[in-house]
Symmetry: C3
């Protein structure tokens, strides 16, 4: 089986079978990173460009390591050094990169839809590494991989997503993916941070966080953008933390085998208490490990199949 | 045949035979980037440093991809993170890099002559990736490669270069190269942007752009630096664009097989209309593809010959 | 013999035998950088992360080249593009990187102790590439390597360290290393820049620089941080230079086979006169060459032994 598109732009585009293919492929990729020699020749001679219009240590490094462990040539471009300061359009930047014959471009951009523009314009494969408040599909895939690893299935799993649902591409991608795979999702957060008709996505809204988490298998905390406070979306960090931060007190209401997730970087003591982030239920660092595996899987599935004989 | 210098500093230093050697070598290099596995071991164990004192996505990426496809180890240094902020002289930076035994240093610098300083100081090969308003030899070589690919020859080809001739290292390098190869060159642009005795270079000046382009084989548009306007070199972008921008209207005056070139990044709607940049005569993206091939050829010719047996 | 720790945090942690092991290993590594093909497969499949919270062309490039010549995958992270701007703690950054299974992290940080925090938290090997005013152990090792190369021994060698002793991690690491190896050390500098009880380290303080250098085998000049002047630590650059800069005049007082060292980047005409920096006694550039060799040795000793069969 293969992915039906040359690109990974959004979870919305994937079938449940494709999601399973990615997760299954990631399982075998994960093993590579545990070897003494963490490198296979699968993508030798392939060129992967990391085109980051927003800074991100974590995601860029994860893709870079994923590419290098598969022996791809990885080229990093970040806006601070890019000619976008010279006013070139995204399409022109993309076409120029395409003219250098890359196999795949990973793009992160503050505008929703930017990866789709590249994908529609260029023959190279495009992976969306986060576009505005739209989607962050590799995050949802690595989250699903991590949940499945711990719970053996995604079907029937109850997940609570807590925080700024409206502005979160992580929340959107996770809702789409988990629903496709048969999970049961509820969200919680301040009214100002939950879209009005969220139920139409098949998701329930529980304004009381303790109610939202009391019977779930997974609590997915979102990072709070502290700058939102200036826009009046929440009155104070202290109040946000009291109502929607996950601490030991609230955790007592949850199931004894609950999993705590967070896409990182975490604001310790704001949306998550240090004792919880570092505690026994936290699988936050497993998520990071899964990230490299899932990205290796995607690189392989999108541009590595023709190389199969060289493995 | 070999290049006579260890460095590529300026088109002025090259003989026509050397230019042909580079272009011919680039032809075989171009094929590598079309393969499924775009990598040859030619420069394995060679160290190439990209030392960029001016930001440039395009040129840095082109050199980085060229080096990696030849299996060189490529190290990027950009000023934003460099110790030049600590006041070290260029010579000292060069000597320090030399002490790490690189084989070749690619340098872009805002001061004319900076690459020559390195070349005179260091045993490593130096490639000038653009120095002030002096030269940008790899750009001229990739332009020549692209013209030759389309027109089969450079000899007798008529070329119009349009724009800010005075401040353009691209224009200078192209004039030197095309003249050596027997092309016929005219320039056009505002009087404030054309050097007074340009004819002494063997180039004709035609203030009327339409006259300049009506019988040429190639129109080479230059990027207008929008910040020049503040220095009073042109009154408004709108006026510049009307007189010296290439649009469909002006293009009607040109030959039916004319080629449109631009070193990029383009200012759409300023020096070139979108319909022209994206139209059938434009070979702007071919130039970018040629860039990787020409840079691979230069890396090979300057530091790869001793490795020939490993190809 | 092997290093007893998984990390290199400080010279203080090393035994004389370990120092000799590193220097001896560096000797064989140095030869690799003189080959036509400067690459061995020793660290193939190993992941090395350069995590730089302070900019440094020289040190980062040295580690990057060292890693690549040993075939490691090297990933650069610099603060300007890092998520530390998002307020993540160092421990969290480290744990997240660890989750991607790197073998070794090189860290430079403005806070003393930062590398130790990583080392205590993470299973990966950590190399301190300079932490605040604490230590810069790889600099001391490359200095020792260079002295030994020229003088055949470190035992009994007389060394004068001149400049801002108080704030210099280079001075501290050198004092610790040279003392362990039996060298005889004196320091000189303005009273405001020498710690009050320096003699307790077994080092003599000679306020008169000419007295300090007259009978030594090695003069180690420190870089003066010009911004210290604003804090009143010295009255003017001119005065500093007159009393503690090394020029030809002062050099006449020194031995005829003295070696001049400087960790770079140098302030020409401030702490060192150009004629001295570029003169016959200067081994400043040898230090840079030694740097690559010493860092290759450390990478090999810390993470390469299990790969020994692949050499």
């Amino acid at each position: 089986m293969e992915l039906s598109n040359k690109d990974l732009l959004a979870i919305r585009d994937l079938s449940p079978e494709e999601i399973l293919l990615i997760l299954d492929t990631a399982e075998s990729m994960k093993e590579i990173s545990t070897r003494d020699i963490k490198k296979v020749p699968t993508l030798r001679g392939k060129t992967v460009i990391n085109l980051f219009y927003e800074p991100s240590t974590r995601t860029r490094t994860s893709f870079e390591i994923a590419g290098k462990r598969l022996s791809a040539d990885v080229v990093n471009i970040s806006t601070s050094t890019s000619s976008t300061t010279k006013g070139e359009t995204l399409k022109d930047t993309g076409r120029n990169l395409q003219a250098m014959n890359p196999d795949l471009i990973v793009i992160r951009h503050s505008c929703a839809g930017a990866p789709k523009i590249l994908a529609d314009t260029l023959p190279a494969s495009i992976i969306n590494a986060g576009d505005g408040a739209h989607e962050h599909p590799t995050q949802a895939l690595l989250d699903a991989f991590t949940i499945r690893e711990k719970k053996k299935t995604l079907s029937g799993i109850k997940v609570a997503i807590i925080g700024d649902i409206t502005h979160s591409r992580v929340a959107r991608s996770n809702i789409f993916l988990l629903q496709k795979m048969g999970a049961d999702i509820r969200v919680s957060g301040p009214h100002t941070m939950v879209p009005p008709f969220i139920e139409e996505l098949g998701v329930s809204f529980m304004p009381d966080m303790e109610e939202a988490i009391h019977d779930v298998d997974v609590i997915m905390m979102l990072r709070i953008q502290l700058e939102r406070q200036q826009h009046g979306l929440f009155p104070s960090i202290r109040e946000y933390s009291r109502f929607f931060g996950l601490n030991l007190e609230k955790l007592k209401k949850a199931k004894s085998d609950v999993l705590i997730m967070h896409p990182g970087p975490i604001n310790r003591g704001v949306e998550i208490a240090p004792e919880v982030a570092d505690g026994p239920y936290s699988i936050i660092l497993d998520q990071v490990t899964s990230g490299v595996a899932v990205r290796m899987a995607l690189l392989y599935l999108l541009i590595g199949k023709g190389n199969r004989e060289s493995n």
